[in-house]
Amino acid sequence: MKIIVAVKQVPVRDSAIRVDAAGKWIEEEELSFEINEPDAYALEEALLLKDQHGGEVVVLCAGPERAGQTIREALAKGADRAIHIQCDDLASLDTLALARRLASAVEAEKADLILTGLQSDDLGLGQTGVVMAEMLGIPHATIVMQVEILDGWVRVKRELEDGWFQWVRMPMPALVTIQSGISPLRYATLMGIKKAKTKQVRRIAPDQLPSAAPPAVRLERVYLPQRRKETQMIAGTPAEAAAKLADVLKFEVRVL
């Protein structure tokens, strides 16, 4: 079985974020980057399926030079090879244009299954995988907690609202978007890190990419959100702040 895992490199969680001078995107210079968390779980699910059924796991990532680090880490964890779509214009693309790039890079791979995280931690649109499935003409399911493979079919447990779930069966090839936290993540072993250096990374240069149509949707401006609520910040040492808060809970909110 051949599984493709589409992963994205995003700013490390809890990074201090600064808007860039043009107000169009964030200052990336001082940021550290890591694999998008839901994509890490998609990779884990792919590696688990390979452990069970054999086959090959191919990592797919679009991004600038620095995305190579995320690719190497995925290879060190056990992915067999990778495809790096080299581009530094991700922030200016809409989902359709990005999904087109991803789809065209893997079309010839004829994978049985494509996995990706349910959304990215930076843009959070939650649709790149779905649109990629449309581009490839294959069925998809989103927000998946469990994946089973049986005789050319994939059976997935979809998360619905308010604690409801549903099993859905689809013929393969299919695309599945994975929910965070569905199984513990493995760490790369020393052996894995060594081996990663010898694994194949197919690089697709910007001039080999399908030409991007003008985006239907454009990100015009990013800015700090205005506080919707007046937050009363309580200052002082931990003991002072705690004492003040206890007073607030007792005399203002009256719950103690």
Binding site: G126, G163, L219, L249
Partner: protein, 350 residues
């Protein structure tokens, strides 16, 4: 191209977020001077049609087909694709439900469009709608525009628009015309407000539908009802390790509060799933919600922003949780929480 079309969600009962989307649609349609229409898909939509007939809408569409009875991506995309082709709207709005997240991006792609997903506001700028979305888990806002060629698709975040406005402003003297999730009040035969409701029958074949959905189910009976709790102490990633959970449990015990958590804590098995607050867990509205080491990702906020008072304790002063907090302490939870536990015990003893 003309008009604003809002796609609602109905499964024997309305998904309440439908009315939030309709409120958003009504607001932007009025600003744009465009007619407002609504549509809903299913196999048996008589009840839905009666509810919609009482709404002040230019038109309502029931997209009816046996193959739309149980939701599948393929049937929904094909059915709404046909409806949108025939109506040719400027703007198509959805509530950002799990179901919409599943099919709407694919539907938009059929039209060469990108869904503007999970918008929190829409405003008109030089006659063009501008959509506000959150980036980086609520740390930043972003304005998105559409190039105007072809229909624009957008989904709206839970709680971003007030469904109540939809109820109050159009309910009339007879009370709410807006049906709620449970027991919708039906008002029929009121010609003065009646909205023309049309059945739209899409062409669908069973062979088009590739996925086979099973029954919807719940994992286990929920034994903890956080929605009834009046005090909640909730813990997030900031707690770092399972062995630190007793620190927040002690605070909850001192206050007589229920202990709850954000998703990662339950995913790790540090607290049971039934104590999870957020879009995939429980929705709560206690008198006081104390968020400890919770950054405030939107999936969490939708589950707790109805709380009467929110207290946030977090080391990152820019954490989005402070956006919804009434009281905040920026500090190390490992110092602040034990101090607070002691202060609460003292305040209660006094």
């Amino acid at each position: 191209m003309s008009g604003v079309l809002v796609i609602l969600e109905y499964r024997g009962a309305w998904n309440r977020m439908s009315w939030e989307a309709l409120a958003a649609g009504r607001q932007i349609a009025a600003q744009m001077g465009q007619p407002l229409a609504a549509a809903v898909a299913g196999a048996n939509l008589e009840g839905a049609a009666a509810d919609l007939a009482a709404k002040p809408l230019a038109r309502a569409y029931t997209v009816c087909h046996d193959l739309l009875g149980e939701y599948t991506v393929d049937a929904y995309v094909a059915a709404f694709e046909q409806l949108i082709h025939s109506l040719d709207p400027l703007l198509v709005l959805f509530p950002h439900t799990y179901q919409v997240r599943d099919f709407a991006p694919r539907l938009a792609a059929r039209f060469g469009q990108t869904l503007i997903a999970d918008a929190i506001a829409i405003r008109l700028d030089s006659g063009q709608p501008v959509f506000v979305r959150q980036l980086l888990q609520g740390k930043l806002n972003a304005d998105y525009t559409h190039n105007g060629a072809g229909p624009c698709f957008a989904s709206l975040q839970a709680g971003a628009f007030r469904a109540e406005a939809e109820v109050v402003s159009h309910g009339g003297a007879g009370g709410a015309a807006c049906p709620d999730v449970a027991g919708p009040p039906r008002r029929s035969g009121q010609a003065s407000t009646a909205c023309p409701t049309m059945e739209f029958v899409p062409r669908l074949e069973a062979s088009q539908i590739r996925s086979q959905p099973g029954e919807r189910f719940r994992e286990s009976a929920q034994t903890v009802d956080l929605s009834a709790a009046s005090l909640i102490v909730s813990v997030g990633r900031g707690i770092k390790e399972e062995s630190n959970i007793p620190i927040v449990r002690a605070l909850a015990d001192a206050m007589g509060a229920e202990l709850a958590a954000s998703r990662p804590i339950c995913d790790n098995g540090w607290l049971p799933m039934e104590r999870q607050v957020g879009s995939s867990g429980q929705t709560v509205s206690p008198k006081v919600y104390i968020a400890v080491g919770i950054s405030g990702a939107i999936q969490h906020l939708v589950g707790m922003k109805g709380s009467k008072a929110v207290v946030a304790i977090n080391k990152d002063e820019n954490a989005p949780i402070f956006e919804v907090a009434d009281y905040g302490i920026v500090g190390d939870l490992f110092e602040v929480v034990p101090a607070l536990t002691a202060a609460v015990r003292k305040a209660k003893g006094a």
